[in-house]
Structures are given as C-alpha cells and as structure tokens.
C-alpha cells in the first residue's frame, strides 16, 4: 500500500513523502524534492549566452561563442549528474538492514546499505546550520568495542531537509520496525 503526503522543507520548498509497506517487516519511505524548473534552466542559459554575445561584440572572436555553448552544456550535465538530487529514499528491512538511496536528476542512484547489526538507533537531532536551527534524522551506528558507544552518525535526507512534522512520520515508521528486533528472540553470538 502506498500513500503520499505533502510537506515543506526547511527552506520552504514543497516536498512529498511517500510511504509504502511491502510486508510486515519491510517499509520504504521516499522524500521527493521539487523538480528542475524549465524557467530557471532557460534563465541561466539565456544569461550565459547574452554575456557571451556581449563579449563577442567587444572582441569579434568566435571562440567566445563556442566556449559559451560548451560551458553551458558541460555545466548542465555536471549539475544534473552530480548536484541535483530528485528523491531520497529509506528502505527499512527488519532483520536485514537499512538502505539509503539518493536518486539524481540524470537517473544516477547512489546507494548505501547498513546492516541491522551495526544500527544502534534512528533518532532526530538538532543542528545549527548558518543562522537557523534545523532538525535532521540520523542513524546511529554501533561501536563494536563499546556496547553503549556510538561509532558514527549517518545523517539522512540531507538535500531535501524536511521539517519536523515530516521527520516525525518517518521516525515513527522506522521505530515500529526497529522494535520488532527487540521483541524477537535474540540469538547468541554478540557478547
């Protein structure tokens, strides 16, 4: 079953949260940011080309024009492939692990999978970012030597930065699955 809700990000942009329950112990939560707008793309390209035409009028050198085309193409490709994140999703599979995926506008997906044995907890933290205080969701990783210690903090949804109301929904969904591993009979092995 899938449901979609609208929220706002920390800067005020509209984002959408989509929840899907695949089975009793598997849930997928995806936050989708605003898509690339045609008007901002055309504005940027027009600005670059106008500047190039101005330089061409001054210098009478056609290299300026071809360089402008080249730069705008390369810049667009770099932006779509490395910078613009369309969707960030969290796939929680109880007893296997948590998978964090970021999908870029060009279709590239970068995935990280964290095993359940390494996950200590999923919490909402506060951070001071420039002049604002924002909330962010993060995964705490277990320190193998110290059972009470935290070895690493993995922040989630870094590019869409949802606000607290959206984070609370995600937090509740994750905790329902994480609690199942506490109630399940523990096997031997970890000292």
């Amino acid at each position: 079953m899938a449901e979609e809700q609208r929220f706002r990000s920390a800067c005020g942009a509209p984002i959408a949260l989509r929840r899907r329950q695949h089975s009793a112990s598997c849930r997928e939560l995806a936050v989708r940011g605003p898509r690339l707008q045609l008007r901002s793309l055309s504005a940027a390209t027009s600005a670059v080309w106008l500047a190039a035409y101005g330089l061409f009028a001054l210098s009478e050198n056609t290299v300026v024009l071809s360089a402008a085309i080249f730069i705008s193409l390369i810049g667009l490709i770099i932006y779509l492939h490395f910078v613009k994140i369309d969707q960030e999703s969290l796939l929680v599979i109880g007893s296997l692990g948590i998978q964090v995926t970021s999908s870029y506008a060009s279709g590239k997906e970068s995935t990280t999978f964290i095993e359940m044995g390494q996950v200590k907890d999923v919490v909402i933290n506060e951070a001071v970012h420039m002049q604002k205080v924002i909330y962010y969701l993060c995964i705490l990783l277990q320190d193998p030597e110290d059972p009470q210690g935290v070895s690493e903090v993995v922040p989630l949804f870094q590019s869409s930065k949802p606000r607290l109301d959206c984070l609370i929904e995600v937090y509740k969904s994750c905790q329902e699955i994480l609690e199942q591993r506490k109630t399940a009979p523990q096997s031997s092995g970890i000292k």
Partner: protein
C-alpha cells in the same frame, strides 16, 4: 527471527529436487548453492556433501526441498517432500514451491523441535551466483584489524559462495550419481585466449626470471661499486627509476601463485602499468626519431645553454652595479661578482668542449626511451639538473656564505650584549668579557652587519633561481610518480566488470503479493573510483617532504641548504 533464504536466480527454472547449501543459524539465514535432482540415493548425497565439505571447509547440508511443477500440483508430491525432511534431518526444513510460470512462490518451513509453533515470516532474496562468487567484498577503509572477527553477515554469504567452487564443477549434464543445477548450468562460455595465456605464462615467467637474475647480477658486481660511480648512481633519478622497475619485474615473474586477492591485484596492476609505460615510451621514441627531431633537439641544446649563461652574466653585471637602486658595498660586490663570472666562463668552456659529442650522446640516450615513458621523463629531469649545475653551485656558495654570516652575527650580537652560548648546558649564559675582546667583537659585528645586505641579495637571487629549477624537476617527478602508482588494471576492472570490486550490496524490492513471502533482489554495489585508487595504489620510492612550510621558511632565512626531494633509501640528516 525472520527466516531469510538466499536463492540463486539461475535455479529459478530448475526441475524439482532438494536444496543444498549452508545454514547460518546466528543470522537465521539459509544460503542455497545448488539443487539436486531426482532420482538420487540419500546415502550418496550425504557422502558427496561430506567430500565437498572436506575440500572447501564450508559446512554444507541439505536445507530443504524445491518443487517446480509445470502442471497442477500433485497431491502425493507434498507428502513425499515432507518425508524427505525426516531422512535429511535439518532444522528448519524449508519447502519452496513454484507453480508453472508464476512469479510468486510459496515458501514454508517445518519445525519439529520448535518451542513456539507460530508461523514465522520468510524473506526470499534472489542473488546472481556467478557475480557473487567472483566478487571481492571490500571492508570500509577505516576499520582496524580488530574488527576482522566481527565480520559482517554479508561477508559470510560472499565467503560461502566463493569457497564452494568445487561444488560447481559437476552439474546435471555430467554422468554420476548426483545431478546438480547451479550457475554453470546456464552455459557460460570461457575464453580460449585466456586459457592459452595461462598455459604460456609459466615458461614465460621462467625465462623472465633467468634474464632478471643475469641483469641484477651485473648491477651488483663490484665494478660498479667504486666511489665516484656509486655516488653518481645515487644522484641520478634515472637509476632509481630503473631499479624500481626491475623490482616490479621481479614481482611479476616470481613463480609463486598469488595467495590473496590483494597480491593478485597488485601483480596485475604492475603488469598493466609496465605495459602501458613501455607502449607510451615506444610511441615517444617513434615520434622523436621521425624527421630527425632528436638531431634538431641536440642542435638547439648548446644555444640554449649559451643563452642561459648570457642571461646569468647580465644578471651578475646588474648586481655588481646598483640593483633596484640599492647601494652595495663596492669591494665585496666586485669580489663576489667576478668570482661567479669566472665560474660561468669555466662552465661555458666545458659545454663548448662537449658540443661535438652532444648529438651522438643524445641519440643513444634517446633510445632508452623504449624502456618506458617514466625512464624518458627521468632522463629529461637529469638533463635539466646537469645543464643547471652552475645554478646549483652558485646557490650552495651563496647559501654557505650567508649562513656563516648569520651565525657570526648572532654570536657577536650575544657578545655585544654581554652573553655567551653555553655548549654544555645548551643555553645562553651571561659572561664577562675583557676589554680587547669586546673591542674586536664589536668591530667585527659592525663589519658583518654592514656587509649583510650585499650577501643577502646574492643569496636571495640564487635561491630563487634554484627554487625555479627545483619546481620544474618536481613537476616531472610528480608525473613519473603518477604513472608509477596508478592502479590501471583495477580501474579498468571497475569500468568493465564492476561486480568484481564490491563495496557492499543493494536490495531492490520486487513485486509483492499478499500472503506470499517478501521478494528482494540483491545486487552488488561497486566500489567508487576514488576508493579503488586508494585501496590499490602501488607504493613508490619517493617520499614527499615532511617539512611544513614554516620550517622551510626558517631554513631559508637561516641559510641552511634545502633538499626538497628525498628518496627512501637515503639517510635522514
């Protein structure tokens, strides 16, 4: 706990039979390696598993039953499969059944000695057996050695499949009591060229080892160890680079097979790096010798050296006058200027003496570019060092003079204030001097102080020239290091067969149906290019300067000689 079954996607269309694999009880997961088809004799199956277990040291067992019925379900079959569970006692006994071409399979478990009889959830994870077998899981770069025992659960799965290669040798088309289905049944072809290369590599390695032992024997002979020659070899960077490549060749041609993945990758990287190096060197050589470019190069070398010497002479004439409007001490200025001018005159005479032989020497030296592009670059760096030897000499003279002056000044300054350096206690102590000591000391101090600007200016000019030459040589060495240490084979592997270098896994949720187990597809998440370069970098022989910028500036101020590029073999001073 939730039961996880890792099922190879190549067995999805196999006929009915029983599943063999490994049961990991602490994770409650079953890794299915193959399907044994009917008819079989249970005793023979157990014997075969025992043999395979003895060879691979992986604890294999019969995990459950697999039924792929093309028509409707037969009633007797399910009871027969349950009875099999009593013959091969395994806890829990997994039963997977597929109907016709259906995507959604049903999976149930039989627990005989379970405390809680509730229905536990099953997750079905499909994996590509051939890719998982060939892949090498890389642990995250910042884990220490202590975490090796606390290995991740995924590495246990990768390990199981990789070590069970013996199991994949026979399949259902072979004659024998056991008929298996696994990834080989899909009919993957092997390459004849690769097999031929493997066969010819053994005699080639032996030949190479023999040649290398001859060459290293010559290099180590006593003739080359006499003092002037050994000093020369240690200073020329070409010899260092050749020694480094010789070491590499020895690594490749050794007869022992590589034990671990890292050793194998290192050998492959060295081999590809050498190949590309030699190919680029031969390309450079063909470009140089075409249209007699090397002759033109030799012809321009002498005029360039003359031009540099003339520029230096102009510079010295400028310093001997009133450089930048500063007023120098006339006598000292003339002495130093004439001294350096005479040196340049000597240097130019030597260059003109050598000029008839330059073209021939360069022609033969250029032939050695076929040993590799790195050797050619090192030769270039050495030629630059030889041509600018006079600048190096001037820098040393200027630095020593300046250094003496600074030490003299600091010691006399202490005398001026009535203090002394206590060598025993390594500190400054007060001291009462006699009158004549004070008089002479003050005189000397004044003389040195007023001569300081002249010496400092000469020192500054020659240090800047020397730094310029060092920067050019440094850039060439950086390029050589880059070619030496780049792991090209690993990068090409990451580009073409990215599943071989795995950073982790990723799961994709397939179509679900209510009531059926959760279906996931496990794919390999390849290592990023930066991590590949960092993990598989080849070690080089030069260590970059450990001096920070602050200590470098301090050395320059005090007039100590700086040696920016040290090699690992030299003693640190």
């Amino acid at each position: 706990m939730v039961l996880k079954v890792f099922f190879p996607s190549c067995c999805s269309s196999a006929d009915s039979g029983i599943l063999i694999g490994r049961w990991l009880s602490e994770q409650s997961s079953a890794v299915v390696l193959a399907v044994v088809h009917f008819p079989f004799i249970p005793v023979q199956v157990k014997q075969y598993l025992g043999q395979v277990q003895h060879l691979t040291k992986v604890s294999l067992s019969v995990l459950g039953s697999w039924s792929n019925s093309k028509q409707e379900k037969e009633e007797g079959l399910s009871e027969f499969l349950e009875d099999l569970g009593t013959i091969f006692s395994h806890e829990p006994w997994i039963q997977i059944s597929k109907e016709g071409d259906g995507k959604f399979w049903s999976c149930s478990t039989l627990q005989k000695h379970s405390s809680s009889p509730k229905e536990e959830e099953v997750i079905l994870v499909y994996y590509d057996q051939r890719k998982v077998m060939l892949s090498h899981l890389h642990p995250p770069l910042d884990t220490g050695d202590g975490r090796a025992e606390d290995a991740s659960k995924l590495s246990a799965i990768f390990d199981t499949v990789a070590r069970s290669r013996v199991l994949f040798m026979t399949d259902r088309y072979d004659e024998g009591p056991i008929k298996l289905t696994h990834w080989q049944s899909e009919g993957v072809e092997a390459s004849i060229i690769v097999e031929l290369l493997k066969q010819t590599s053994v005699p080639a390695c032996m030949l190479l080892t023999f040649l290398l032992s001859l060459v290293s024997g010559i290099c180590r002979s006593r003739v080359l160890k006499f003092w002037p020659l050994s000093f020369l070899w240690s200073k020329l960077s070409t010899c260092e680079q050749l020694g480094h490549r010789l070491q590499h060749l020895q690594v490749i041609s050794s007869n022992k097979k590589a034990q671990t993945q890292t050793q194998l990758m290192r050998k492959a990287n060295i081999f590809v790096s050498l190949l590309i190096d030699v190919a680029l060197g031969i390309l450079l050589m063909s470009w140089l010798y075409r249209k007699n470019r090397i002759g033109h190069l030799a012809d321009t070398l002498i005029p360039v050296a003359d031009h540099v010497a003339e520029e230096l002479q102009d510079l010295l004439q400028w310093l001997m006058g009133a450089p930048a409007g500063l007023k120098m001490n006339r006598a000292l200025d003339q002495v130093l200027g004439r001294f350096f001018l005479y040196h340049i005159h000597l240097w130019i005479s030597y260059i003109h003496l050598m000029s008839p032989f330059i073209e021939m020497i360069l022609w033969y030296v250029g032939l050695s570019a076929c040993l590799g592009l790195t050797v050619a670059l090192c030769i270039l760096s050495d030629i630059i060092a030889l041509l600018t030897f006079h600048i190096y000499c001037f820098y040393v003279y200027g630095a020593r003079l300046y250094c003496l002056k600074i030490y003299g000044l600091s010691s006399l300054w202490r005398l001026f204030r009535g203090k002394k350096w206590n060598v025993l206690r390594q500190r400054v102590d007060s001291c009462s001097y006699d009158l004549d000591q004070l008089f002479i000391g003050t005189l000397l101090f004044t003389i040195l102080l007023f001569l300081l600007p002249t010496t400092a200016l000469y020192y500054l000019v020659f240090t800047l020239l020397r730094l310029l030459v060092v920067i050019v040589q440094g850039l060439i060495h950086l390029l050589v290091d880059l070619i030496d240490s780049l792991p090209l084979y690993s990068l090409i592997l990451r580009l073409c067969r990215s599943y071989r270098l795995a950073a982790g896994v990723k799961f994709r949720v397939l179509e679900q149906q209510d009531g059926k187990p959760l279906r996931l597809l496990m794919q390999i998440n390849p290592l990023s290019y930066g991590a590949v370069v960092q993990t598989y970098r080849l070690p080089t022989y030069s260590c970059y300067p450990k001096d920070s910028w602050a200590s470098l500036c301090k050395k320059l101020f005090l007039g100590e000689l700086i040696y920016p590029w040290k090699h690992k073999g030299e003693k640190q001073e």
